[in-house]
Amino acid sequence: MITRFLIQGMDKRGLVFLCLIAAIAVLVPLANLLLPPGSLFHVPTSTMSLWGKYLCYALLAISLDLVWGYCGILSLGHGAFFALGGYAMGMYLMRQIGSRGTYGNPILPDFMVFLNWSELPWYWYGFSSFPFAMLMVLAVPGLLAFVFGWFAFRSRVTGVYLSIITQALTYALLLAFFRNDMGFGGNNGLTDFKDILGFNVQAQTTRAALFAMTCIMLIAGFLIARGIVVSKLGKVVIAIRDAESRTRFLGYRVDRFKLFVFTVSACMAGVAGALYVPQVGIINPSEFAPANSIETVIWVAVGGRGTLVGAALGAVVVNYAKTVFTSGFMAPYWLFALGALFVLVTLFMPKGILGTAQDWWSKRRKPEPVATAEPAPAE
């Protein structure tokens, strides 16, 4: 049943995407580890980690596309789920440092010693165990999304209002995580990681493995998201996006469907955050900044919402552009470019790269519109 769920209705676009990521998952680490640095096809470790970061963003974008593109929930707080997953991973990595910290305390992370804390807060218990930490990577964002969504969807908070309170949610978390008293390292966050599962996080092989893992999780996330959107539940969710009250009059409990999709999406964002942290080497409260979450939205919009593949594409394209821009003489103009991107995409390319390309393609092939999950222009 699971296999059928995952591969049902797979289209060409999805297959191309899967094959591409699978190829990258194998080839990039090999090119990094086996080829000599002088080789034409050698991939430097820094480049691999950078692309690993892009792929984490791609997974985050897919999770956002699931709720925005298919269910019409514009979450301006998805960065919060990403950051929470990241913090869960960061806590595991902090516990792995053991007595190698600056203060040499075998139990307490350095920042707690610095704050004169005498014992580990209860919510840090268990994070020395990798399986437990991974469970938390899913459970913490999932639970927050579930509780938040349960309140919001049951009371039929929709549209702009919902967007604003998701933004308030991530803003509240931003403020909270800045506090030293919270026990998450305050302003500085969690950093100076040493090991993951006994392997040095800085080592080239570990980096390669993390990269491959990111690709695998991206594939898994894509398959799950795809499985959801092509199932009958996916049709219900699209129906909710386009005519929420009509769906309700058909007897569907709209709030439960939204809650399901929102929670799954949050878990996926959490996984993306967890993969991001060991590759970037730090997690701090700025990941909760509302601006980050809105930027994620524009990745999805650029790639084409309601397409999943487009979301991933948009994340990579925009972040690659950001890297190019901000590393050169054009750095001061990046925000102009990003701002313009927001305006131009919403005005002239509401379907994004993929949607626009597809329209163009199908117009050339046959005039009859086909069944796709393109979003309605209106809310």
Binding site: L74, F148, F151, A152, R154, S155, R156, V157, T158, G159, V160, Y161, S163, I164, I165, Q167, A168, L169, Y171, A172, L175, A176, F178, R179, P290, I294, V297, I298, A301, P332, Y333, L335, F336, L338, G339, A340, L341, F342, V343, V345, T346, L347, P350, P377, A378, E379
Partner: protein, 530 residues
């Protein structure tokens, strides 16, 4: 000690008798100062005070600071900036008399000087100086001054000065273990009436040997004052809350108008506030450079300009972007976010990323006290300004034709359109008005916040909260929302701290919107669904 008492007796004598032998005693005093022996100097001080010599204060002060010079029969005061004055007359000396030396001091002389100065102040003909002296004694609790104070009280006619003297007396008595018990009890009462932080500290300094009755009275007085002070603190927090609320109102009300009429969230609203603040900065720069005399009017000049600048930018945004996204509120949100990034970066490029200095005109600076309440003028004016802006907007919406059209579009856009209202024009004007008001808010905020490219960002989420909480389509909702959030924020702060208080409010609003998805003052009925 005996000398000290003699001193005091003398001061009293001075106080009670008008000296006929003043001139004579003055002559003797100056002769003795010239002799420069400690006993002569002491006697001279007594004589100066006994004779109530007009220059006594100046001379004794100079003596204390080693600026009193004597030699060759002359006594000279050297002022702090080095001028020489005749001690007797206070007239400036053309040339320095030969053989001048500072009059020497020892500890005995110094003690006498202190007592004399304290006594002089308490008996000073200037009421303000008497009060200041009494305050000084209240703080120093110098037992030796008790008799002077008592005399001063008996002579005092001014009620405020008398109260200050009584408080000084009480402060001394509280600590004076050999004072009559009844007097000390009365002193507790006096301090209780004074009721401020200093009175509390004085009461707490009650020595441990006090009688049970006195201790009991002291405990009650302490509790009483603490209660009063807590009340004042609450009032002060309410005031801060009102002030924050008025700032939120200014920042949010333009947003409420655009959101109410057009159903779109303008993420660049904060940047309109920022533009208003930078307009103020430019106006002040121009005034500083060209017309320094106009500085006190800089805000009055900046207000219409800020309204125009922000309003025109707003209209440009509406005409250039938002009108193409009508009916797609979420996309409007994204596009305006993009505009906000562009505006921020543009200002950062033009003015630099750091804070710019915006000065306060005279009438906006300083503070005054009202009971136990400290009120700064800038906060007070901002509250007044917010109230005026609110009233003006209310009037525009209720009394003008464009206001009528705006209300019509808010309630039923299609119907309004069918009635011949040009909704496009209404949208543009609404957006201009909302943005212009944000510009006005920027002028006000430039007085209390840093003028930087990030100014708008720090208010935008709070403004959203106000609008979401208050509900749209009704300005009163925004008013209630802004004041509630402002006051709740400041009342929570002492208990939860600034950050936790803010988090608590955000969580509260997230929960509140579940109960009232359309805010406090929402439109009802089928029209809402349409």
């Amino acid at each position: 000690m005996t000398r000290l008492l003699r001193m005091i007796a003398l001061i009293l004598a001075v106080a009670l008798s008008a000296g006929a032998a003043r001139a004579q005693s003055a002559d003797e005093a100056f002769t003795r100062l010239g002799a420069d022996s400690f006993s002569d100097t002491n006697r001279a001080i007594e004589l100066l005070i006994a004779g109530a010599h007009p220059q006594a204060a100046v001379i004794i002060e100079a003596l204390a600071e080693g600026r009193l010079l004597a030699g060759g029969g002359a006594v000279v005061v050297k002022t702090k900036d080095g001028k020489l004055l005749d001690a007797r007359t206070g007239a400036a000396l053309a040339s320095e008399p030969p053989g001048l030396n500072p009059v020497r001091l020892n500890n005995g002389v110094r003690r006498n000087i202190q007592a004399a100065l304290g006594g002089l102040g308490l008996l000073n003909p200037d009421t303000a100086k008497r009060i200041a002296a009494a305050e000084a004694v209240f703080k120093s609790r110098d037992v030796s001054l008790l008799p002077v104070i008592e005399t001063a009280i008996s002579r005092e006619t001014d009620t405020r000065a008398k109260a200050a003297l009584r408080q000084a007396q009480a402060a001394i008595l509280i600590a004076k273990t050999d004072a009559p018990p009844f007097d000390r009890l009365a002193a507790v009462d006096v301090l209780r009436e004074r009721g401020d932080q200093d009175a509390l500290a004085t009461l707490r300094s009650l020595p441990g040997d006090a009688s049970p009755a006195l201790k009991d009275a002291q405990a009650r007085a302490v509790a009483d004052i603490e209660g009063k002070l807590a009340l004042w603190r609450t009032v002060q927090n309410l005031w801060y809350g009102l002030s924050l609320g008025s700032v939120l109102l200014l920042a949010a009300i333009g947003l409420a108008i655009t959101f109410g009429v057009m159903g779109v969230i303008n993420m660049a609203h904060g940047e309109m506030v920022m533009l208003g603040a930078y307009t103020t900065f430019i106006v002040q720069e121009v005034i500083r450079a060209r017309f320094p005399g106009l500085f006190d009017y800089s805000l009055a000049i900046a207000l219409p300009l800020a309204f125009l600048v922000a309003g025109l930018v707003g209209i440009a945004i509406e005409r250039g972007v938002i009108r193409f996204l009508y009916g797609r509120p979420l996309e409007t949100l994204l596009a305006t976010w993009g505009i906000s990034l562009i505006l921020q970066q543009a200002v950062r490029t033009a003015f630099g990323p750091t804070n710019r200095e915006v000065g306060a005109p005279n009438f906006m600076s300083g503070a005054f006290e009202l009971g136990g309440l400290a009120i700064t003028w800038n906060r007070l004016w901002i509250i007044v300004f917010a109230a005026l802006v609110f009233a003006a907007l209310l009037a525009i919406l209720k009394l003008t034709p464009i206001g009528l059209q705006m209300r019509a579009v808010t309630q039923n856009r299609r119907m309004a359109s069918a009635m011949g209202i040009r909704t496009g024009r209404v949208d543009a004007l609404t957006f201009g008005l909302g943005s212009g008001v944000a510009g006005l808010a920027g002028v006000a905020l430039s007085q209390i916040d840093n003028v930087s490219p990030n100014l708008g960002q720090s208010y935008i989420i709070d403004s959203f909260m106000v609008v979401v909480f208050g509900g749209v389509g009704n300005l009163w909702g925004t008013l209630v929302g802004a004041l509630t959030l402002g006051i709740a924020n400041k009342l929570l702060e002492p208990y939860a701290g600034a950050v936790l208080g803010k988090i608590a409010l955000l969580v509260f609003i997230i929960l509140f919107i579940q109960k009232r998805p359309r805010g406090l003052f929402a439109l009802k009925g089928r029209a809402v669904e349409a």
